[in-house]
Symmetry: C2
Subunit: 98 residues, 2 copies
DNA sequence: ATTTTTGTTCGTGTTTTTACGAATAATAAT
DNA sequence: ATTATTATTCGTAAAAACACGAACAAAAAT
C-alpha cells in the first residue's frame, strides 16, 4: 500500500532531501562540499570517526537523494554537490515560508 | 560511545531539524502551520490518511525537534510553529551555502 | 455521575537506518 | 604478473522509525 499518494511531488522531494541531511555525518559532508567544491572519499575517511564502509553508505545515501554526485578518477572518486538538486532543495525549503 | 562529539553544535542541530522534516507527513504539517498559523491535531486526523496514534507520533517528533509547540485548549491541543527554532533552522540551512 | 470528546501511551510487528569488519572489485603502479 | 591503492558490497547485528488498533487519561458537556 502506497501512502505517498496524496502528498505533492514537492512535499515528497523536500522530505527526501531533508532525510538525506538528517545525519551529522551527512551535514558535515555537504558543508564541506559546499565550501571546497569537491573532495575524495579518502579525505573524508581521515577526518571522520567512522569506518570507510559506513562512510560509503552515507555517500550513497546523499547520492541516491541526488544531493551529491561522484566522478571516477581511478582509483579515486571525486565527489561534488549536485548543483541542480541542491538549488531545488534550497528552493523547496525556502518556499515553505513564503 | 558517543560519535556526536566531533560535530559542531550547528551540525547536530541542522541534522536534527532536517531529520524532523524527513517525512512527507511532517513536511505537510509544517507547511500547513506556516500557512495558517495554527491547527488542532483533530484537523490533521481528518486530512491525513493515517491513524491518530501515528499522527501523534509525528507531532511528537516535530515537537521534540523543537519545530512546533502545542498549547492546551482542553480537550484539544493547538499546535503552532516554534518560530524561534524555525528561524534557527532557516538560518542554519541557508548559512550552509554562504 | 456519566458520557463524550480529544489525544497520548501501550503493545506489537515490519521496515529502515546505522555501524562494523571482511571480502571483493577495479584500476594504477611496480 | 604482482602488488598496492581506493572504494564498494556483503554479511551481520543493534537500534530507530513507522504504522496500527486497543487501552487509557483528562477535561468538558450533559
Amino acid at each position: 500500500m502506497n501512502r505517498d499518494l496524496g502528498y505533492t511531488e514537492n512535499q515528497l522531494k523536500l522530505a527526501r532531501f531533508s532525510k538525506a541531511l538528517g545525519h551529522p555525518v551527512r551535514v558535515f559532508i555537504i558543508e564541506l562540499l559546499l565550501k571546497q567544491a569537491c573532495c575524495y572519499s579518502g579525505d573524508l575517511t581521515e577526518i571522520l570517526p567512522i569506518a570507510k564502509s559506513t562512510l560509503s553508505q552515507h555517500l550513497k545515501e546523499l547520492k541516491d537523494a541526488g544531493l551529491i554526485q561522484g566522478e571516477i578518477e581511478s582509483p579515486k572518486i571525486k565527489y561534488c554537490i549536485n548543483r541542480d538538486n541542491w538549488n531545488l532543495a534550497r528552493k523547496l525549503f525556502n518556499n515553505l515560508y513564503k
